[in-house]
Subunit: 246 residues, 2 copies
DNA sequence: CGCGATTTGTGCACGCCTTCACAAGCGCCT
DNA sequence: AGGCGCTTGTGAAGGCGTGCACAAATCGCG
C-alpha cells in the first residue's frame, strides 16, 4: 500500500500539537491499540505497561513503544502509559473526536448488514444516509434510516458534510458510484466491491475484498498440506497473535 | 503481519511442481491478479502484457513481473502472458482447485450477509455450514442452508473436511468460537470480530475489522484537513489505483 | 536468414519497517 | 537522601519490499 505523506506542519495555530508525520504502518495499528485501551479502561486500569498493552493488541512491545513515541512522549518511565490520556491522544490523531458522518451506497446483501453494524456507531462513526440505484429499494427503512436514490447523494452531502463514503454495490457499479461520491466532495472511500477504482489523487481509497482474504487463507492451507506430506514435521507457524484473557 | 515460511520442498513426488517460497506481499496480490485475469478472459483476451495486467490490477508493472517470476516463467518475451495458463497457475498456487469448504459461525447482522455473499461461491469457496450459539437462530434457513447449533460443529467438520472457518460473532464470543474451531481441526480462520485471537501456531488467522478501516480513513481526513489549512496547497496524494476501463 | 520491435525476467540500490539492546528517567522503599 | 528496580524512549542493525534500468529472449517481417 503505497500511501505517502509529507506535511509535518511545524508551527501551527492554537494549543493543539503540530500534526505528526506518522509511518503508514503505525497508523494502521493505532486503531488496534485504541480498542485494547478502551477494553482496559472498562476494567478500571489507570495505567498500562508497553508489555501489557502490546499483548492486548497482539504486537511486539518494542513496536508498540516506537509507534507511541511517534506521537510524543505520553508514557512515564518506571510506570507505563496513562490509559485515559493515551485514548484521548490516539482519538485526536485519528480524528475520531469529530464523530464523522458516513454514507453507504448499495443496500444489497452486504450493504444491509453494514447499515446495521453496531461496530461503526460504537467507535465514532455515524451512518447518516443510505443510497441505492434500485428504485425498488428506495424508501426501505433500515435501522432507522430510509434508503434514498443515489441521485440525491449530492444534496445530502451538502447538508451533512460527508467525508467518508462506503461502496457496497456489485462490482459493475462501483466505479460509477465512486465518481458520484467524488463529485459530491467525498474524499475517503471504503470499497467492498472487487476491482480497482480510479479516483483523483486527493481521494483515499481503502479496499476490503472478502474473497481475497479467503484466498490468502486457502494458499496457506495449500502450503501447510504440502508441508505435512513431507519428511521434516516442521511446525510451520504463521501469523498468530498473543493471548488476551477474555 | 509476521507470517513466516520455510519449506522450499526441493525434490517432490508426482508431476506437480515443487511448492515455491513466495513472499507474503506477493501472495496478497495474487488474488487481485487472478480477478483481473478472469475479467480479461471474459473479454476474450488470449495474452496480456505485464503492463496491461498491472493496470487492470492496480499495481506497478515491475512489481507484477517480479511477483509472477516467483512462481516460474509463464510469460513469453515479446508477447506477454498466456491468460488461461496464468489463471491455472495462480489458482493452483492458491489452492483454489480444491473448491474449499468454509463454515461460518455467528449468524447475526454481518454473518447473515456473509452467508449469502455471492462473491464467495463465485471464487471457489463453498459455504457448507452455518452455526450460532443462540437457540432462537438455530433452524433458520439462509440461502439454502440451515443454521445449526455450534455444538454440532465438530460432527460437521468430520464429515466435510472443513479447513476454513469464518467468525462473525460479537467480540465476547470470538475466542470461544475460535477454540471450538481449532478443536474441530480447522486450521485457517477469518475473523470479523474486533479483538485478538489466541490460537496454536499451526493455525492461520486473518482479521477484518471494518471499524479499523474507517478509522484509518478518518486519520487521512484529519491529516488532509490540517494540510489544506496551511500555506502550500500541496495535493497530498495517497494510495490510489490506476484506471480500469469498466 | 537476419534485423528490429517488443516484452519478460532480474541485478541492484534505496527506503521503510521491525527488532534488539541499552541508556535515561521515574517512583518507591528503606 | 540514597539506592534499587522497573519501564520508557531510541540508536543501530538487519530484513523485506519496491522500483529502476537493462540484458536476454522471442516474434514478425522483409
Amino acid at each position: 500500500m503505497s500511501q505517502q505523506r509529507q506535511g509535518s506542519t511545524p508551527g501551527d495555530a492554537g494549543g493543539v500539537p503540530a500534526f505528526p508525520d506518522l509511518p503508514e504502518a503505525t497508523i494502521a495499528r493505532l486503531p488496534e491499540y485504541l480498542r485494547a485501551l478502551h477494553h482496559l479502561a472498562e476494567t478500571g486500569a489507570e495505567t498500562v505497561s508497553s508489555e501489557g498493552l502490546a499483548a492486548a493488541a497482539g504486537v511486539n512491545s518494542a513496536k508498540l513503544r516506537k509507534d507511541l513515541s511517534h506521537l510524543g512522549s505520553y508514557g512515564t518511565r518506571g510506570v507505563g502509559y496513562d490509559v485515559a490520556l493515551l485514548i484521548d491522544q490516539i482519538e485526536y490523531i485519528l480524528g475520531l473526536d469529530k464523530n464523522r458522518a458516513v454514507c453507504l451506497v448499495g443496500v444489497g446483501n452486504l450493504g444491509h448488514a453494514l447499515a446495521g453494524y453496531a461496530g461503526f456507531a460504537s467507535r465514532g462513526f455515524r451512518v447518516v444516509a443510505l443510497f441505492d440505484a434500485d428504485p425498488s429499494k428506495v424508501g426501505e427503512r433500515i435501522n432507522g434510516l430510509t434508503v434514498r436514490h443515489i441521485d440525491e447523494l449530492s444534496e445530502v452531502a451538502a447538508e451533512e458534510s460527508l467525508a467518508i463514503g462506503v461502496i457496497a454495490t456489485p462490482p459493475g457499479s462501483a466505479q460509477a458510484v465512486a465518481d458520484v461520491l467524488v463529485a459530491a466532495g467525498v474524499t475517503s472511500i471504503l470499497n467492498f466491491a472487487p476491482g480497482v477504482l480510479s479516483v483523483p489523487p486527493n481521494v483515499d481509497v481503502r479496499k476490503v475484498d472478502l474473497a481475497i482474504e479467503l484466498q490468502i487463507l486457502s494458499f496457506h492451507e495449500h502450503r501447510k498440506a504440502s508441508l505435512t506430506a513431507l519428511p521434516g514435521g516442521r511446525s510451520a507457524a504463521a501469523g498468530n497473535q498473543e493471548a488476551f484473557g477474555s
